[in-house]
Each structure stands twice: as structure tokens, then as C-alpha cells.
Amino acid sequence: MSKLFASLVALLSFAITAEAKETLTIYTYESFVSEWGPGAKIKASFEKTCDCTVEWLGLGDGVAALNRLKLEGANTKADLVLGLDTSLTAEAVATGLFGKHNVDKSLAKTPEAWTDDYFMPYDYAHFAVIYDTEKMKVPPKSLDELVNGDPTQKIVLEDPRSSTPGLGFLLWMKSVYGDKSADAWKKLQPRVLTFTPGWSEAYGLFTKGEVPMVLSYTTSPAYHEVAEKTSRFQAATFSEGHYLQIEVAGLIEASPEKALAQKFLAFMMTPGFQDFIPTNNWMLPAGETKDALPDAFGKVVKPVKTLLFTPDEVFKNRRAWMDEWLNTLSK
């Protein structure tokens, strides 16, 4: 009992420990800083280069981090936000809280040349349908084959209202079908087992054997290859191309630690940061790494075409597209 009490006191007091050095407070998503995420390693790595302390604050996901920022407005404690993607950046810039990064944009190794003045990318991956080779011999070869295929072979998708990959798939459908995407959704609907609140629940159902297909990333097979030594789960290559997710970070203009935040963004493009991305965040690095990527990443599907709306297009249309999805499927 006394041990429990002691740990409780420790729990309450760790929150109130004082800081001494310069502190860089970074808002990010939960899984970046969890036990297996790259957060702790990157913190240690950056702290070696500066006389400062990195303090992560993990919030649900990128959307939650941005909402926290909106609620706090100019009073925000954040010096930097890491973990938004390009569907959120226009909305983030519109808050007026972000400042320009002044980092050399040519350092970004993204599939398309990087042009954003406010955000720098740190990793990326294309969305992909992952299938179980033991259950599915002939995976769909295009989004159209997925939409029109056998409805007894189901897929689990994420709900775009609560999940970033969910929104990513909605944008994928939109970029392929345009005005006809409502019809395509209607056709796809019988194939969708369910829409889960997040990626984890969808992937959990998939690995539990509930469905032969799930929406995830082209990098997912690399995880199974590296960590589980199995090539059972593979990404289906779609002929229309794959929608891209690029994860970015940006600094808060009014932050007293703006110089330090700028230093972090520059550091982000170097091996000191990037080395921890592939096998901790399971995404492709958007900057220089020291060593070559593990072999499994070499096998990652290279899409014939990268699909990506500009941040402005997403910002302007997201609500309407989401409503269209909602109205099409809830009838």
C-alpha cells in the first residue's frame, strides 16, 4: 500500500518538476513519443547538439495537436508542432500561429520537390491496401478493381472523421474518381466490413484474421519483414497511383524559443533525427540517413504515380467531401 502511495506521489510530482535549461516544447502525436516511437531517441540525439531540453507533449494525433493549438491560440506553450500532414498544413497556417522555417527546402527528399515555406517534412509513405497472402491469392491491381471486386472479400477502412489514414483514403478516392466518387463509394460499400476509429483498430482486426485487406501504408510489409521475419502481408500496387502522406513539422512564430525551434527543424533533416525514423516510425525518411535502409524497405512498393492534393485544396474542400462521404454511406 505504501509503495502504491509512493508511486502515486511520484506520479503527481513528476508533473511539477522544475526546468533549468532552455526548453523546447514540441506538440506531437501520441505514438511518436510512446515506448516504441522515435521520440525519446530523437530527444537524446538533439540534446547532445544543444544545451537544451526537449519536452514532448503527445496528443492523440495530428488533428488533436492542431486543435490543442487552436484552443490555446497565442497562449500556446508549444515552440514547435511535429506530426501534422499535408492535409492539415493549410488549416494550420490559417491560424496565423506558425512562422517560416528558413530551412533549405532542397534538403527534403520527398517524392515531389518540397515548396512549403512554413513546414518541413520529416517522413512520408504512400497509403496502400495491405493484403494477407494466405487468404488472398489475387489482390486488386487498381483502386477500380477494389471498388468493383468481389464483395465477399472484405476490407477494413478507417473512419475519415476520426483517423488520418481514413481521411487519406477519402482523398485517394476523390483524386481518382473526382465528381464520381460518391458512386464509387456506393459500389465499394458492400466490400467494407467496417470503418474503425483509428488505424490501430483496423490493423488489429486485419491481423486477427477478420478480413483479408486493410488500408495502411506501403511501408507496413517492411515492419512484418523486419520485426516478425514474415512476408505474409503485402501491399497491393494500384495502377491509378497511390495517395501520399507527408508528415511535417513547423515552428510557432511567437515562441520565445524560435531560434532553438529553427535549429531543431534543420537538425530534423540530418541523420541524427532521420536514422530513428524507418524502424521506429515505420515510414520513409524525408532526409539524410547515416546507413542504407534495411532491405525490407527496398521492397516497399514504388507507386507508378503519386497522388496528392495541395494543402489548400484539402482545406477548402475537406468539409464538403466528408459530408458527401457521410451522406452517401449513411443512407
Binding site: G58, E72, L193, T194, K208, E210, W282
Partner: protein, 517 residues
């Protein structure tokens, strides 16, 4: 006389403080959002809203109905029968409450899903799946709550019934029903609110946006669209629907019937006919069939995947710390509220107390957390106090679980002991020690335990106030799943379930350790 007045004013201070704390916390949560909604010109009355409200009510109503329809005969059967494994089964009945929704869903899907042992019997996706999951969570809880009332029936009643030659239906009609009828409206509103607030179950097993509840819509408007105007309209709709239902349920709450009681050992004379035996066996089997297969699935998935690591130990300690603190606060608040409601409270006061008890279930946690954040962030660094806020939110969410076993027991005890204590001049601490604690030991233990279990399994509070390094067992499960570690997550889920089972065993040992009966 003076002492009596002092006693009264202390009572008033206690109840005012408790109500003030709860209603203040809820108001702080809701008012900022309402204000933001007002500033942005309330919007959101469209065709979507009635559809969402309709579905919310439908699934919550059906879930409540089925949970209770199963729970009542099961509780009656448990009260009548002693059999091998009865205690263990009852302990297992408390475990679903502690399981994060995704763990239970994976368990259910593992049994009834496409790849499950009983796959293909019916579709777990759609309304049937939602109902099954809600029954899995709520039916066993209802059984436990009903059983505490049935166990409180004095042995003399059954002896008298036997002397009068009561048949089983007559025992039910004249002895059992009056006891459980007083708590059914409370349990029904609790289940209804829990199902209204259900999020992951509705999204995952609902199968798509056609199954959207108010809770999901509020979440969407707060987080994805960041549209406080719409969120406040939806929250108002939720408040109206749930508030009205709670008040209606309160109208059906009956006065407790109190019987003189000796400490003679309970013996049941009824239910010996072959038919009654069959019915009881059937009831208990159905309940076991609903609860056990998913639990076995969780056990099998987890048993080979428990890796004792630093992260697991830390998360276990953190969960215990949060659970214990939340349960203490919840028990304190619940005791004060129940005690006041049991002392000739006016109808209005009783309604306020009932609403306060359920407030954190009526207001979605996402709304409360947003409001608290808006109020607190200009004065303090909220992330530093995340632990405290999670504890408070959990304590409020657990309040109805404390109330349910405690209130009827206190009402009984008050009726039985008040005059005696007054004539003996027994009050304050002396009364607490000599009269109240010994008689209320069991319901207090059960209330504390349920509050703790609810807090152990809660994920919503912690995901709303992010804070690095603050990881409970449910958030560890989510973190593991988020990093492809589905097997490790299954192991952690089993640890959580086992922890829960251990706590129940401990609490039962404690509440029985010097029982006279």
C-alpha cells in the same frame, strides 16, 4: 439541540460542497463550449441531427432492454442457487467493465466474427453486433448490482414465504420484485447513458457511418471539424435527451421497503421444482455463454504474450494509482450524495442529486475536457496537471457505479438506525465507526471496487489530456497496437483483466473478513 443544529449545518456543508464540485466541474466543461457556440452563431440543425438522435436512442434503448431482460432472471437465479464456480463466475462478471472497448471487441470478433469459432451464426457488424457488445459490457454489471439488493433481503422473509406456501412466482411478486424494483430505474438509466456514450463499439461494430451516435457526431464536430457551434448544439441535444430520461427514470424510483432483520443465516426454500431448476440453469448458462467465450478468446490471445517489461510495470502502477485516487474521490462524493438523498430529501433535491451523479455520463468526456481546457489553459499549464484532471474526470465518470450499490443500502440503514442513534445520542465519528461502517461495509466495498474498475479501463479521459510519460494500461494497449504490436497488446489486455480479477477477489475477502453471517 445545539448539537443537532451543528450536525445539520455540517450535513449542509458536505452536500453543498459535493454538489458544488460536481456541478461546477460539469459547468466549467460545458459553458465555455456553449459560449463558443453562441459566439459562432449556433448551427447544426439539419436532417442529419434527428437521424443521429434517432439512432442513438434506438441502440441505447434496445441495449438497455436486452441487458436488463437477461440480467433480472440471471440475478434471481444467482440469488437462489449455490453451485460450484458461482463465486468465480460472479467475479468474472465484473471484468468486462474494466476492458477497453477495443479489447472486448477483438474478443467478441474472435468468437463470433468471420474467423471465429462461432463465426457465421450472425453478423457482428451492424445493430446486432452493437447490441451484443453492449450486453457483454452491461448485463454482468446489472447482475452484480441487482444481486446486492437481493442479498439484502432478510432471511425471515423467505422463511415467512415458505410458511405461507408461496410458489416461486409469489416469492418473486411479494419478496424479490419489491426489492429490485427500487433499483431498476437507476440501473436502466446507467446502462442507457453508458450506451449513449459508447464510441468505439458503435464505430467498429456499427459497420459504417449509418451507425452514428450523438457521441460520435460530437467528437467529429469538436475534433475533426473544430466547429464549436455545431458541437454545442449536439451537446445540448445530448443533454436534453439524457437529462429528460434520467428525470423520468427518477419518477419510477420507489421507496425502499425495509424489513426488520436478524442475523440469521439466509436459506432459500423456494425454487426447488424441476421447472425452476431448469429455468435457473438456462438463465445462468445464457449469461455465461455471452460472457465467457469472448473472455476465453482474450485469455488465449494474451496468455503467451505477456512480456514483463518496465513499461508494463509502470503502466500497471500508474493505472492502480489513478484508479485508487479516482475511486477514493468517487466514493467520498457518492457517499455524501447518497447519504443526503436518503434523509428526507425533497423531490427537487433528489432530482438534482440524481443528475449530478450521472452528469459525467450525460456530458461527453470530450466536451468536459475541452471546456476545462479553455478555462484552465490561461491560468495554468494544463499538461502538467493532466494526471489530476484524468483522476477527476474518472472519478466523476465512476460516480454512478458508487451510487448504485450505496444509495439503497444507506437508505435502509438510515431508516433502521436513525431513531436508535438519536435516542442514544450517537453521532459523528462514533456513529460512523460503530453503526455505519459495519453495516455499509459491503456496498462501500462494491462501490469502491466498481469505481476503481471503471477508472482502470478508461481510455477517454487519458486520451483527451496528453502528457508524455503518463501511461496507463489501456493507453499502453493502444500504444502497442499503434506500433503493430498486436500480440503484446493482447498480453497487456490480459494483465488488465487479471488485475481486475485480483482486485475483486481482494475486495470480496475484505468485505467478508469479519462477517457475522
Amino acid at each position: 439541540m445545539v448539537e443537532h443544529l451543528e450536525q445539520m449545518s455540517f450535513q449542509n456543508i458536505k452536500i453543498t460542497a459535493a454538489l458544488g464540485f460536481i456541478l461546477g466541474a460539469v459547468a466549467f466543461g460545458f459553458l465555455p463550449l456553449l459560449w463558443l457556440g453562441f459566439v459562432n452563431g449556433f448551427s447544426g440543425f439539419d436532417a442529419y441531427l434527428p437521424r443521429v438522435v434517432g439512432f442513438t436512442l434506438k441502440q441505447a434503448f434496445l441495449s438497455t432492454l436486452f441487458s436488463l431482460l437477461i440480467a433480472i432472471p440471471v440475478a434471481l437465479a444467482f440469488a437462489r442457487r449455490q453451485f460450484w464456480g458461482r463465486d468465480a463466475l460472479l467475479k468474472l462478471f465484473s471484468v468486462p467493465l474494466a476492458l477497453p472497448a477495443i479489447v472486448a471487441i477483438l474478443g467478441i470478433v474472435g468468437v463470433y466474427g468471420n474467423n471465429g469459432a462461432f463465426g457465421g451464426l450472425f453478423s457482428v457488424y451492424g445493430l446486432s453486433g452493437i447490441l451484443l457488445a453492449h450486453i457483454f459490457f452491461n448485463m454482468p454489471m446489472a447482475v452484480r448490482l441487482l444481486l446486492t439488493r437481493l442479498d439484502a433481503i432478510p432471511a425471515e422473509n423467505f422463511r415467512l414465504g415458505a410458511q405461507l406456501g408461496f410458489t416461486s412466482p409469489q416469492v418473486f411478486r411479494f419478496i424479490e420484485w419489491p426489492q429490485i424494483a427500487s433499483v431498476i430505474p437507476g440501473i436502466a438509466s446507467l446502462i442507457f447513458l453508458l450506451c449513449t456514450a459508447s464510441f468505439a463499439v458503435v464505430l467498429i461494430l456499427g459497420g459504417g457511418p449509418q451507425a452514428t451516435t450523438l457521441e460520435v457526431a460530437i467528437y467529429q464536430s469538436l475534433r475533426v471539424d473544430f466547429d464549436p457551434a455545431r458541437a454545442s448544439i449536439l451537446a445540448l441535444a445530448q443533454l436534453a435527451v439524457c437529462g429528460v430520461l434520467v428525470l423520468i427514470a427518477g419518477q419510477f424510483t420507489r421507496e425502499n421497503s425495509v424489513f426488520p432483520r436478524t442475523l440469521s443465516k439466509l436459506r432459500r426454500f423456494d425454487g426447488e421444482s424441476a421447472l425452476m431448476r431448469m429455468l435457473d440453469i438456462a438463465a445462468i448458462s445464457i449469461a455465461a455463454l455471452i460472457i465467457l467465450p469472448p473472455m476465453v478468446n482474450i485469455l488465449i490471445a494474451g496468455i503467451t504474450n505477456i512480456h514483463v517489461s518496465d513499461a508494463l510495470l509502470r503502466a500497471t502502477l500508474t493505472s492502480l494509482g489513478v484508479g485508487l485516487s479516482a475511486a477514493c474521490i468517487s466514493l467520498l462524493l457518492g457517499w455524501v450524495l447518497a447519504d443526503r438523498a436518503a434523509q428526507h430529501a425533497t423531490k427537487a433535491l433528489r432530482a438534482v442529486i440524481a443528475l449530478a451523479c450521472l452528469a459525467a455520463l450525460i456530458m461527453p468526456p470530450a466536451v468536459l475536457a475541452t471546456g476545462w481546457f479553455v478555462i484552465l489553459s490561461p491560468i495554468a499549464d494544463v499538461s502538467r496537471y493532466a494526471v489530476l484532471l484524468v483522476i477527476i474526470l474518472n472519478a466523476l465518470m465512476a460516480l454512478p457505479f458508487v451510487w448504485s450499490p450505496l444509495f439503497p443500502a444507506i437508505a435502509d440503514a438510515r431508516l433502521r438506525h436513525d431513531r436508535l442513534c438519536a435516542s442514544l445520542g450517537l453521532s459523528g465519528f462514533a456513529r460512523l465507526k460503530l453503526i455505519d461502517l459495519p453495516t455499509l461495509r459491503k456496498p462501500l466495498a462494491l462501490g469502491f471496487l466498481m469505481a476503481m474498475i471503471v477508472s482502470l479501463g478508461d481510455l477517454s479521459a487519458i486520451s483527451l489530456f496528453g502528457s508524455a510519460g503518463f501511461i496507463t494500461l489501456p493507453s499502453l494497449i493502444m500504444a502497442e497496437m499503434g506500433h503493430y504490436r498486436m500480440d503484446a497488446a493482447a498480453g497487456t489486455a490480459l494483465v488488465l483483466a487479471a488485475l481486475c480479477f485480483a482486485l475483486i477477489t481482494l475486495a470480496q475477502y475484505w468485505s467478508r473478513s469479519d462477517d457475522h453471517a
